[in-house]
């Protein structure tokens, strides 16, 4: 099982000054699996995310992707290995059109090479591929809009599309549902399930618990930087540690389940 895992965190900790943002966290994620990473504000979810995507280097511990150690590698290297991510606060390339956003991501191999980046990107082939991806996320109609002009729901899709353009094996989704309306949430959930079915492993940070529980195959709960529970959503929902972490310390009789 361990060797099959797509992503594996081994005893990862991160300290900022005296603060233990993440403490001794281990978990793994398989192909074609959605793992929900949840926890109250300040629990260390985003720090975990940033360590996997390369924005932060763990203080101690190891992170493996397909058996290769990736902790401490620069972001663009990790991206080129097949890890795509989205951001909690969307970060599309505002001055580019939706299509160009995707086209940019399709260049991932060119950017790594010595000279291929001189080639033209604006060609039919790339355009076609980009359009296909936009179509997949339902943004084909907005292909020629500047990203800066798109509403949030579409930007969330655009970010997912941009990550998909990397042909990732692992997709990191950081609160992709926040700020969306219900119908948008439904549409996006469908899309994520489709992506999973295509064989991609997905790590999902989500605070909308209804969504997270609905989508995840397994969940990992962090509180104050520590892993306090893990397992299938049903089990998590009734875990007393989780309830306490979310609702605060209280007599359990108040929390009718």
């Amino acid at each position: 099982m361990k060797n099959n895992s797509l992503l594996r965190l081994e005893n990862v900790s991160k300290q900022f000054g005296g603060l233990h943002a993440v403490e001794d966290v281990s978990f793994s994620l398989n192909k074609k699996e959605i793992l929900g990473l949840i926890g109250p504000n300040g629990a260390g979810k985003t720090t975990c995310f940033n360590m996997i995507s390369g924005a932060l280097k763990p203080t101690t511990g190891k992170i493996f992707f397909k058996g290769i150690r990736i902790d401490g590698l620069p972001i663009h290297k990790i991206a080129s290995m097949g890890i795509g991510r989205t951001f909690q606060i969307v970060r599309p390339f505002y001055s580019l059109t939706a299509l160009e956003n995707i086209q940019a991501a399709l260049g991932i191999e060119k950017y790594q090479s010595k000279f291929q980046f001189w080639q033209k990107w604006d060609n039919q082939n790339i355009k076609k591929m980009a359009l296909e991806i936009l179509e997949k996320v339902g943004l084909a109609d907005f292909a020629h809009y500047k990203a800066g002009l798109l509403p949030l729901g579409n930007l969330r899709r655009l970010e997912i599309a941009r990550a998909l353009a990397l042909k990732p094996e692992l997709l990191l989704l950081d609160e992709s549902f926040s700020g969306l309306r219900q119908e948008e949430i439904n549409k996006l959930s469908e899309l994520i399930l489709q992506i999973k079915e295509s064989g991609v492993g997905i790590l999902l940070i989500e605070h909308n618990m209804r969504v997270a529980m609905g989508l995840s195959d397994r969940m990992v709960v962090l509180d104050h930087g520590k892993l306090i529970a893990s397992g299938p959503p049903e089990k998590i929902k009734n875990d007393p540690h989780v309830i306490e972490a979310y609702l605060g310390k209280g007599e359990k009789k108040y929390v009718a389940s």
Partner: protein, 296 residues
Amino acid sequence: MDSYIITIGIFIAINSIVVSGLNIIVGYAGQISLGHAAFFGIGAYTAAILATKAGLSFWLSLPVVIVITGTIGLLMGLPSLRVREDFLAITTIGINFIVEAFFMYVPFFGGALGIGGIPRIEFFGTPLHGFAFLVLCLVFLVIALFISWWFTKAWCGLACFTLRDDEVAASTIGVSPVKFKLLAFVIGTAMAGIGGALYAHYMRFISASDFGFPVSVMMLSMLVVGGMGTVWGPILGAAILGILPEVFRPLIDYRMLLYATLLLLVIRLQPGGILGDNGFVKSRLKAFSRGGKNEK
């Protein structure tokens, strides 16, 4: 054609080349530079020294000029990896002052006397002047424009655009900030170097003050007025700011005041530049207000 008009044309063409280079650094890759005149100067001095001391023709020295300015540009691009925005702006101002001081106080560069006696450019034995020189400048301008245009069409250009918009997001699609920022600096400064070489061979006498900080400001103003990040913006800006002072010439005393007032008005009313795409301005607005100082 009138030699005065030709001269103005030559300066506009040279400035367009140099500002196109600046556009690649600032407009495409989003790295503020207020020291571009230093590279213009490095190009001019390299060409002048190779011509007067080594007797090299313009054509032979051109590759050397490109390599030298590009290399120094690469070194000067390094601070952009460490510092941002205000710090980078001040650092590039500093680079300009230091380079100017170098030309001024190192005897090898002619010191305060500058370098004179730079020969004309010869084309198969015919010295170029007047109209022929303008044509030469325009040929280089076309090349610069082509590079500038190609940059918008090639993967490296796209990579720079993503860096300009959002460096972290760019990294997540595999763009190495180090590689592409430095690439923009190398190409941008090399273009300034070519402009400098043309300038030296046209003026035939150069001195350090031709490449001082005010020249950098003028170049950035041309870019901002014309439209940052657009292929044609540098030419429009160089033309407007090149022609306006000449048009105002009859005003003598009020000329520079009018010029300053106009520049201020353009910046105040059209901060995205005349060719600047509204969408671009708007998006920059978002990009910057998100990192605004009132948050966090």
